[in-house]
Amino acid sequence: MTGYRTHISIIADILDTAREYSYEGHDRGATVTHLIRRANVPHGRLSSLVSELKASGLLQELPEESKYRISEKGMEFLKSYQQFKGFAEGFGLRV
């Protein structure tokens, strides 16, 4: 589905990017540039979203390099998101 993106779907895009750079041969984590490119949001908004995700334990910041990795809790969130995205889309809605 195209058009308006919800807050939850932007968060899912950020976490999915962090997941790709955490587990699929790029184990050094995703940079802010990677996250901005994929989430397609301005830097200011991304910063507040990343702070929110770090505070809730879904995203981890690597101390020296300013890179981000998805946490186990973030992986659970992504799994749930995919499952309930299908449910909401069944009703013609977005998560």
Partner: protein, 209 residues
């Protein structure tokens, strides 16, 4: 009476399962749309409970309880319509004026709502809301081509047909009561089919967002 009770209980069971799944989704990802679906199916379940209870109530309370149950279900359909209205408003018009679109389904109401009974009126509102929701769901199906959307859209359309059949029963009282109830449960059954593929067992909660 046994058939009516059985079909109402079947509808109750299906709507509780869908509502439970929607709540699990809201608890896991915090989506407002899933909260609205939860509220919708809580209202629909409460409606089934009231309608089933009305079968055992005395003649003095039976009509009032039945109408209350139908009204509770109309509230449930309104929550689903509201989610579609908000989605359309965010897609097609500036969000500041978008809330007005929520009233669009009700603009047709004066043309088909009769004024001689509360039950007529409630059924008419339910019919309008269900037609709107099924059209929106089918429009989504045209974009996504997902089978689950087709099943749920068909289910909502069947519920709308059930309402119009039940409404027509007021003209020939008693004739269409069972077919209308059967169509209603068939509608919920169609909506339930996609859930068998989604895996109802996995309902973990993830706190934080």
């Amino acid at each position: 009476m046994e058939i009516e009770l059985a079909t109402n209980l079947a509808g109750l069971a299906i709507s509780i399962i869908i509502g439970r799944f929607a709540y699990a989704g809201y608890a896991a990802v915090g989506s407002p749309n899933l909260l609205r679906l939860t509220l919708a199916f809580i209202s629909i379940s409460a409606g089934f409970v009231l309608i089933a209870t009305a079968l055992f109530a005395g003649p003095a309370f039976s009509g009032a309880m039945n109408t209350s149950g139908l009204a509770a279900q109309a509230v449930g359909y309104f929550f689903i319509a509201m989610s579609h209205g908000l989605k359309s408003s965010s897609d097609f018009v500036p969000s500041r004026h978008g809330a007005a679109l929520l009233l669009v389904p009700l603009t047709t109401a004066p043309f088909i709502i009769p004024g001689n009974s509360i039950e007529h009126l409630v059924r008419s509102i339910s019919f309008i809301l269900l037609v709107y929701v099924s059209i929106e769901t089918m429009a989504s199906y045209m974009q996504t081509r997902k089978n689950s959307t087709l099943m749920i859209g068909s289910g909502l359309g069947t519920l709308a047909a059930a309402e119009i059949v039940a409404w027509y029963g007021f003209i020939f009282p008693g004739t269409f009561a069972i077919p209308a109830l059967a169509a209603k449960v068939a509608g919920f059954g169609l909506m339930f089919v996609p859930f068998s593929r989604l895996g109802l067992g996995r309902m973990e909660k993830v706190d934080g967002v």
